[in-house]
């Protein structure tokens, strides 16, 4: 880890069941910083997650629901959780299906405060 976001990502990755954590620019889908599992293509994960988050934000805007905060995608063998809404940065984690999402959500929101 090479920059100021490192400690935030480290805290996220320590959560039980978290495989990877990333800070991504929502606008262009590029990684700002990340802790990844060996062999994982962070660039692609970041781009896909940013795109998902952007779509959620656009749909919320269309529904006049305001800014998007926490987002969670559940799949058969894993989860993606993300928070954003401030200064273009989206924090996201990839987790096991057994991970405690409630706890991850709290830590993501805390981490968002820390980097804002």
């Amino acid at each position: 880890m090479t920059n100021a976001f490192g400690s935030v990502l480290e805290l996220l990755t320590r959560q039980r069941g978290v495989r990877s954590s990333l800070i991504v620019s929502e606008t262009d889908g590029l990684i700002v910083d990340a802790t990844l599992r060996f062999g994982e293509d962070g660039d692609r994960v970041a781009a896909l997650a940013a795109s998902l988050y952007r779509k959620a934000r656009l749909s919320a805007a269309a529904a006049r629901l305001g800014d998007v905060g926490f987002l969670q995608l559940d799949a058969e063998q894993g989860r993606i959780c993300a928070v954003g809404g401030r200064n273009d940065l989206v924090l996201m984690v990839v987790a096991e299906p057994t991970a405690n999402v409630g706890l991850i959500r709290v830590e993501l929101l805390k981490a968002l405060e820390a980097i804002s």
């Binding site: 293509d41 692609r44 994960v45 896909l48 997650a49 795109s51 998902l52 779509k55 959620a56 656009l58 749909s59 919320a60 805007a61 269309a62 529904a63 006049r64 629901l65 305001g66 800014d67 998007v68 905060g69 926490f70 987002l71 969670q72 995608l73 559940d74 799949a75 058969e76 063998q77 894993g78 989860r79 993606i80 990839v94 299906p97």
Partner: protein, 269 residues
């Protein structure tokens, strides 16, 4: 064109002042030709502004067009002309129920029941009294029969809950998406969400975490949950921020089961 539509169309062509427009409009809306039905109803109302069934037709077409405000106005007009009109009482009862005005809904349905509204109205009243507003599927379907926009109505017990079923292209198949002002945003939401399934599929495939099952996100004033459907479409459920996420997920599961059944029934009809 169905034989009914052809028959009533011919009748109206022979005699433009006839009341055949009512049957024609009804046949058109049942055939899914909502905008044509709307024009026929409007033209008929211009000629027959005091005709009760013309206003009733316009109200039904307004519901098809997801314009609940106009539908309520037309049914109110029906009641001014014919205070015991059962169709208008049922329609207003249903709109009030949709808006969470359960006392008003009960009042209209009581009135309809006293005028021979039938077992569907009695069952709706029983359900409202017994379960604080939760209507059975059969009851809701009886009150608002063939309109897919009411597909999830009995599952959404809070006025701030809303649900929408989209096809693969983002077109609305069923349900409603009302904002706080009662405006239907279904098509805007559908357009915005089209493609989100593809994004989810790509993300989960790349990560090797299997098929995606749901997406939940929180906004400043609501929580939104989505799930894929059996026709590669998307189910969307939204509720106020006060609704716990766990409860929202249960609601999503219930709506998903309903959507699956409805899609299956539609495929086998």
């Amino acid at each position: 064109m169905s034989s009914d539509i052809q028959r009533w169309s011919d009748e109206l062509a022979r005699n433009p002042a006839s009341l055949a427009f009512i049957d024609l409009g009804e046949a058109l809306r049942r055939d899914g030709q909502i905008e044509v039905a709307f024009r026929i109803a409007r033209r008929g109302l211009d000629r027959h502004p005091a005709n009760v069934e013309a206003h009733n037709l316009m109200a039904r077409v307004a519901v098809d067009r997801k314009d609940l405000v106009s539908a309520a106005e037309e049914w109110q007009m029906v009641l001014r002309l014919a205070p015991d009109h059962v169709g208008a009482l049922k329609g207003l009862g249903f709109i009030c129920y949709q808006e969470g005005r359960l006392e008003d809904a009960e009042r209209y349905l009581n009135h309809a029941a006293s005028r021979g509204g039938g077992p569907s109205v009695t069952a709706a009243l029983d359900s409202i009294r017994r379960t604080s507003g939760e209507l059975s599927t059969a009851t809701v379907e009886a009150l608002a029969p063939s309109d897919p926009q009411w597909l999830f109505a009995d599952l959404l017990v809070d006025a701030e809950q809303t649900s929408l079923l989209l096809d693969e292209s983002g077109y609305v198949l069923g349900g409603l998406y009302l904002d706080a002002d009662g405006t239907d945003l279904a098509h805007e939401i559908g357009a915005q969400l089209s493609g989100i399934s593809d994004e989810a599929v790509r993300a989960t495939r790349h990560l090797g975490i299997g098929d995606w099952k749901s997406i939940v996100f929180e906004t400043e004033i609501a929580s939104v949950a989505m799930a894929p459907t059996s026709n590669k479409g998307l189910l969307v459920v939204a509720a106020s921020r006060a609704t716990p996420l766990g409860l929202l997920r249960r609601l999503l599961d219930q709506c998903a089961a309903r959507a699956t059944r409805w899609l299956h029934d539609g495929a086998t009809r």
